[in-house]
């Protein structure tokens, strides 16, 4: 292996690791920027996405948990990975809409601390419910057949095909959301609502419907992150909470409400983390991303691409 190959491998792995952060952070960021809602249950949507993905993809044997105690030996409908990739975002979109209507909406006018408490509580409920029903053990998430195994790349050599898949799926989705926000009337209303909600309403525009859709899209992205991220590691009830903190870091580093910001910040964090792990400093990888976050926020409190009004 040459030094160049090492560097390229780190960059590509960083891109893949960052892609998961980006998927989570884009949704979190537009929800925070537009609805001013702090959603600590965003990780739970990732968790739901991963388990739903497992359920739709194959048959998962149950060894412990309440369902096993009731004599159920396995769960899953075995439709395959592609079906999961299509169905999970739709289902999690609906979950997001229900969450907006029945949980988030009544908390928009309440302090951030109330929003954090209620969404964090919701996240714990989801996590512990899954643990109680399905057991706490880790489940392997099979890679999709069409993207398993290595692919031979120039200079780098063999690289896991699925990791490229994650990067590609993320790119397509993020570009799609960006186009929706930048080039449609819906996006224009969302952008204006982020800047001055009351003024938008004074123009005669009803915001409840666009807000509902924003919440649904953010949730769907988190669900997709669970499905594409699942095959990269094992699935267990803790993965939602584990992803929540880096996702929030990505949002604040990138600038609240900025899709481009979430992309840049997510890729930076992912690359730094992978670089530290692959150069033998795995123990420092967590310290590294927090240190990077601290330095960036000291220099630019509004985040890399955030506008100064967003801080207030």
């Amino acid at each position: 292996m040459t030094v160049l190959a090492d560097i390229l491998t780190i960059l590509l792995n960083g891109l893949q690791q960052g892609a998961i952060y980006v998927l989570l952070a884009v949704g979190l960021s537009i929800i925070l920027g537009t609805l001013k809602f702090v959603n600590f249950a965003h990780g739970a949507l990732y968790l739901i996405g991963a388990y739903l993905g497992l359920f739709i993809t194959g048959q998962v044997p149950l060894s412990n948990g309440q369902l096993a105690d009731w004599g159920i030996e396995a769960y899953g409908i075995g439709l395959g990975f592609t079906a999961a990739l299509v169905l999970v975002p739709i289902i999690v979109f609906i979950i997001g809409i229900l969450m907006e209507r029945f949980v988030a909406r009544s908390f928009y006018d309440r302090p951030d601390t109330d929003q954090i408490l209620v969404t964090f509580g919701l996240a714990v409920i989801v996590q512990e419910l899954l643990r109680a029903l399905l057991g706490g053990s880790s489940q392997p998430f099979p890679q999709p057949g069409w993207a398993s195994g290595p692919i031979s790349l120039p200079i780098i050599g063999n690289f896991p095909r699925w990791r490229l898949g994650v990067i590609a799926i993320t790119a397509v989705l993020v570009i799609g959301v960006y186009a929706l926000v930048e080039y449609t009337d819906f996006g224009l209303i969302v952008q204006a609502g982020t800047l001055d909600e009351e003024m938008v309403r004074l123009l005669g525009i009803r915001l409840s419907r666009p807000y509902l859709v924003v919440f649904g899209i953010g949730a769907a992205l988190a669900g997709v992150a669970g499905v594409v991220g699942g095959p990269l590691a094992n699935v267990n009830p803790n993965i939602g909470t584990e992803q929540l903190v880096p996702a929030f870091l990505t949002v604040v580093i990138g600038g609240v409400g900025k899709i481009e910001g979430a992309v840049v910040a997510g890729l930076m964090l992912g690359t730094l983390q992978v670089a530290l792990i692959q150069t033998g400093y795995a123990a420092w990888s967590q310290v590294g991303i927090y240190a990077l976050a601290a330095v960036i926020l000291l220099v630019r409190p509004q985040g890399l691409l955030g506008s100064e009004v967003d801080v207030a």
Binding site: L188, I189, Q191, A192, D196, R201, L202, G204
Partner: protein
């Protein structure tokens, strides 16, 4: 004919009683000015009419074109034909001039998908008419609103309001922070809008400038009406002017 009828409203910011038993009426086609010192309740009155909260209107009625709008949300009141050019303009700084104007179109285009039966009395001024009215905005269509000068932002805020379906245009301190020759340009714009048939409710601290163009004036003090009458009457009433306006 009375277009807007505000009848004995009381408005509160939390527990503070900011608007007290206030009544006023605006006649179709006229320019009505709401004058008074800083903190007299002028902006709060406009907020009550537009449906913005706070303040909360706890008693009294606001009728527009005969319909009770007291408890309607701002988006419904706007669609009825009341538009507000708020204090400090509040243009969307990160959006371009054209996008700021286009927001009003989204209400018309999305009328059905928003699940509302929209019945506009008029369609608002067309984009091409607006650019003809305000050539400076035409030149700056693709520029972000935040990069415009104060006078240009004021023009954009007025244009944005006219692009809505507007029967009653409410202007909150349109001259604030503008250089004298720009004030004249805004004044001319207001005159032309009025001559074209739009009713105007103007809030202004600059009482001398406002009396010049108003038909009728109200003077507010501590949330109450202390004078109402034709502009000429207020011009001649030196006692009221000394006591409540300082001019």
């Amino acid at each position: 004919m009375t277009l807007l009828d505000v009848e004995a409203i009381d408005g509160y910011y939390g527990e503070s009683h900011i608007i007290q038993d206030l009544s006023l009426s605006v006649d179709d086609g006229e320019i009505t000015a709401l004058l008074g010192r800083n903190g007299a309740g002028k902006t709060s009155t406009l907020r009550c009419i537009s449906g913005a909260t706070p303040p909360d209107v706890r008693s009294g009625r606001i009728r527009f074109d005969g319909v009770d709008i007291t408890d309607e949300p701002p988006e419904d009141i706007a669609v009825r034909g009341i538009s507000l050019v708020p204090e400090e303009r509040r243009v969307f700084s990160d959006l371009t001039v054209a996008e700021n104007l286009h927001l009003a179109d989204t209400v018309r285009n999305k009328a059905n998908t928003l699940g509302r039966d929209l019945d506009f009395r008029d369609d608002g001024m067309s984009t091409s008419d607006i650019y003809e009215y305000f050539p400076r905005l035409d030149e700056r269509r693709t520029q972000k609103a935040g990069t415009l000068s104060g006078g240009e932002q004021q023009m954009l805020a007025i244009a944005r309001a006219l692009h809505q379906s507007t029967d009653l245009l409410m202007l909150d301190e349109p001259y604030e922070g503008l250089a004298p020759q720009i004030i004249e340009a805004v004044e001319n714009a207001i005159r032309r809008i009025s001559e074209a048939g739009t009713t105007i409710l103007l809030v202004e601290q600059n009482a001398v400038a406002a009396m010049k163009i108003a038909d009728r004036c109200y003077v507010l003090d501590r949330g109450q009406v202390v004078f109402e009458g034709p502009a000429e009457e207020l011009q001649a009433d030196q006692e009221t002017r000394d006591k409540y306006l300082g001019v």
